[in-house]
């Protein structure tokens, strides 16, 4: 099994709901312990997050486009964050989920150094490394309704830009969509075999300059008016 996320860069609107839902669920999760906040009500609030959304502009005006880019653990099949860990705290489960055993971690940061995606964050309060659990305490919880046994970020997404599934199963929704729409993994050249897939964004349509808009409007008005006048 290779459980992971499929993220549609075409429909992600960058609302950060996934990141908030992740923080909310995992703050009270027993898998990693609390997600510490530093000065939550102070002048410079900061804290541990497993999922962060960044925003990029691609292409040059007028053919430019905003891409909202959620980034969390890729649950790499060949993860260096696991192999560099000296204590055995970092491990990968048979279902593909990469986790940190909070009881074994000594907070050396080496796994965070080995991760190119910035998926691991040290909790300064507990002194241990924390990361996305793929909501392992939701997806197997039989007390939840079957449709709720998904990561919190997936359930929270208002545009359904996030899907959860098994990438080892070619018939799964995530595998089919990734195959149909050219889903790609990030930085495959590092050889970590990331499992999460991103669906590429749509081609940007050129943004019109003001004079083009005016010309279009005039032409549009003329074309609207001409059938009336000619009648």
């Amino acid at each position: 099994m290779k459980l992971g996320l499929l993220i549609d860069l075409d429909t992600c609107v960058g609302c950060h709901a996934c990141a908030i839902a992740c923080k909310e669920w995992n703050a009270s999760s027993k898998v990693n312990g609390a997600l510490s906040d530093y000065q939550p009500f102070g002048a410079e609030p900061s804290g541990v997050w497993f999922n962060r959304v960044r925003h990029y502009e691609v292409g040059d005006y007028p053919a430019s486009k905003t891409i909202n880019f959620p980034l969390s653990c890729m649950h790499c099949a060949d993860a260096d964050c696991v192999t560099v860990c000296p204590t055995g705290a970092s491990y990968r489960r048979a279902d593909g989920i990469v986790l940190v055993d909070q009881d074994k971690c000594m907070g050396c940061n080496l796994c965070a150094w080995a991760c190119p995606y910035g998926a691991r964050e040290l909790d300064e309060v507990s002194g241990t490394m924390k990361k996305c659990t793929l909501c392992v305490d939701r997806i197997y919880d039989e007390l939840l309704a079957p449709e709720d046994r998904q990561p919190a970020c997936v359930l929270a997404c208002p545009t359904r830009a996030r899907l959860f599934g098994d990438f080892d199963d070619p018939e799964s929704e995530v595998s089919r969509l990734a195959a149909e729409r050219g889903g790609f993994g990030l930085l495959p050249e590092l050889g970590y075999a990331p499992v999460n897939r991103y669906l590429p964004p749509r081609q940007p349509r050129p943004v019109l300059a003001e004079e083009d808009v005016r010309a279009l409007l005039e032409r549009g008005l003329a074309s609207l008016a001409s059938p009336v006048i000619r009648r």
Binding site: P45, S46, R52, V58, G59, N109, P116, R202
Partner: protein
Amino acid sequence: MKPAFSLVFFTVSSGAGLGLLALAALVDLFAPGSLPAQALWRGALLGLALLAAGLTSSLLHLANPRNAWRSFARLRTSWLSREATAAGALFAVGAAYVLRVFGDGAGPVRVLLGLATCLLAWLVLVCTAMIYASLKPIRQWHTRWTPTNFLLLGHWSGAMLLAALACAYAPRAGAFFALATALGVAALAGKLAYWHAIGDAALAPTLERAIGVREGVHGPAPISVAHARLLDVGHSHGTFLTREFGFVLARRHAGALRVAVLALGFGLPLAWLVAGAARWQPAIAAAACCIIGLLVERWLFFAEARHTVRLYHGDPRT
């Protein structure tokens, strides 16, 4: 990378100690008698002390040191685990070797202990270097010049300490000066080659590569060659990632610090080796100068390393 002083001190101190241990054992093995026993055991003990000081400093880098005892668990894959284990073995073997030399014992036991001390010192040095060199997301570390530098610089600073010991105890210090000079020139060459290698940004990953826009978009004309830039980083006041990986070193500062490394770490000690007085006072000053230069060198090693995650924070390339 944030230059954590605990790690800067650790790698320089243990590097000098390991170089000194290896060289002292080699001198004992291949040129017995050229260094009196009282210099030899003092040198080996100083090497162990420098290693112990470095390892203690490295513990300060841990956010949760009470789990440090677990770091022997992943010998099969983790260079940090290998380093911890090899260092532990070196303490046992090195201490036995110091006692053997102190007691002026001779024979095969001393030879075996000396050989094991030398090999273990090399092993620890290689493991330390490979912790950094094995990290693929850090282009400036993931190069063969990293272990080359750690080995050469450890032996260079160790040779300076050995030269100081020779000035104080040995009847003739000339051979030790020649050894240190050769190692110093080699280490300098290695450092210059490292700086040359990391200066080549041709293969550096780019922001476009990191967010995969070069994988294409769907629609009529691909923007596969599109230029990308950060609009918003999504957080307001810094994160673990910006604190750990966001360190920026101004280029002019990097230049000045490189000059300081060349002058303190190599120039002045080499000048003393070639032209200085072979007395122990200037010898200790020259060794200290070398180690201060290497502290600056190691600080730069961290400060100039640019982690791939910086691309997601808006750096156009690493």
